[in-house]
């Protein structure tokens, strides 16, 4: 496979065309905006939390195929997971897109493994990881004792 077809795998193209969980969650427990001023990518992530578990998560925004598909696959991957699991998943994902995967990472990434091609394109790492950084910010937003800032 050429590095280009490895980057734009069918799963990524398909999620870019029809992103999952592309909606606003009314009355979300947490919400955050992510923004890459260098390229203009912008997205918002919303989440609902029950106990320690992400009960629902969604996103909307403008970005390239990599960032859109990453956000879409991320929402599908983290739903039903605990905040701690999500944190570990992000670490594995980050190692994947920066080409620093450790033994066992790929087995536990599931569908997210389609982003392995990103590591050949250092300028696109931010596109893939922006949704995850934004999700982290939304989780922090949720955990604020005083509630969500408008």
């Amino acid at each position: 496979m050429s590095s280009l077809s490895e980057l734009y795998q069918n799963v990524i193209l398909e999620h870019n065309r029809s992103p999952r969980n592309y909606r606003v969650i009314e009355g979300a427990d947490g919400q955050a905006e992510g923004n890459n001023p260098l390229c203009g990518d912008r997205l918002t992530v919303w989440l609902k939390v029950e106990g320690d578990v992400i009960a629902d998560v969604s996103f909307q925004g403008l970005g390239c195929a990599i960032s859109r598909a990453s956000a879409s696959l991320m929402t599908a991957a983290v739903k039903g997971k605990s905040v701690e699991e999500v944190e570990r998943m992000f670490q594995r994902f980050h190692r994947l897109v920066t080409g620093t995967s450790e033994a066992g990472d790929s087995e536990t990434l599931g569908k997210l493994a389609v982003f392995s091609g990103v590591s050949a394109y250092p300028t696109r790492v931010k596109c893939a990881s922006l949704p995850w950084h934004t999700l982290k910010a939304a989780m922090l937003d949720e955990s604020k004792p005083e509630g969500r800032e408008q």
Binding site: S2, L4, Y8, C39, L62, C64, A65, R124, C127
Partner: protein, 410 residues
Amino acid sequence: MKSALLLDLERIRADFPILTTAARDGRPLVYLDNAATSQKPRQVIEALTRFYAGGNANIHRGLHYLSERATTAYDGAREKVASFLGAAPSEIVFTRGTTEAINLVAQSWGRSTLRPGDEVLATGMEHHANLVPWQLVCEQTGARFRAVPVTDRGELDLDAFDGLLSDRTKLFAVGHISNALGTVNPVRELAAKAHARGALVLVDGAQSAPHLPVDMSELGCDFYACSGHKMCGPTGVGVLFGRRELLEKMPPWQTGGDMIERVTLERTTYAAPPSRFEAGTPPIAEVIALGAAVDYLRSVGLEAIGAWEGELLARATELVGAVPGVRLVGTAPEKAAVLSFVLDGVHPHDVGTILDDDGIAVRAGHHCAQPLMDRLGLPATVRASFAFYNTMDEVEALARGVRRAAEVFG
């Protein structure tokens, strides 16, 4: 094609060593990101090497032989640049680039001159480098920052310009050629109107100096800024042209060595321009190599350069414009060397990555012109920008690459 005959493309391309290096996965490089930075001919690279290998010394200080020679070469480069721009050497200040040149005018002239009630007029198609320095100095002085709106075709709204220009306008800042769209602004006419209301005119020439014959007396501006690295010269050096009587009155911006007349612990007097604005050791090697770049551009001929780039742009407009799903962004009748476009359903960054896979280097993004992108309702565009060393084959490769991007995402 007449202008193609005026340019010996094969010989010109042989002057640019980088054009034979490989791009991603060993593919031949198709360099269409010239608005970001141009490539360098060996004449410029050799000027740098020659200076460091056999001529390096500081200038305007040493009594020794090497310093004398370096000073002569540095001052000689100022004469070359002055002649290239149709100005006097005393009107040429070397800066780090266009950005620093504009900041110099904003902080020296602007900060010492602007008062509450005054206005600085820019335009909605400026590069951030010709917007933010004015916004800042307006905040600092209480002057008001205003901007001429842009039409759907990517031209300045000239009626709105007439309406915005007033006796309160102290300076009009305008790009000669839009880096994002390639629009050539009618700078001479705009300058005449601004002058009639008593305003000074600063022209951001970063995109015009490498593409058009530019003459300060003909352009009729008070300040003109350009960057060495966009005109076949090295990075780290740029040029500010300022009319002599304006530079004379302007206070220093940065201070230090080489810009003083007499320093005592009580009081310092400053050197005359241009030295007044060149504090510290300047980029000596880069200035000398910029002189070589200007010599090179003149040997090729700016008229021939403009004509050939016009043919490249016309062909690119035709071929890329014919790809299904492509929308050209910026369709002013007067354009130079830049083709900006979007492809339906494909983000510009993805187009850029697919072109890169074919060895084609373009820019995808907001081109440091966010207000313009907001006006056009786009987060980003793909921008192919041409130089005189580009070929029709490269234009065709671009169009094929855009077609491929449409297929990958189809």
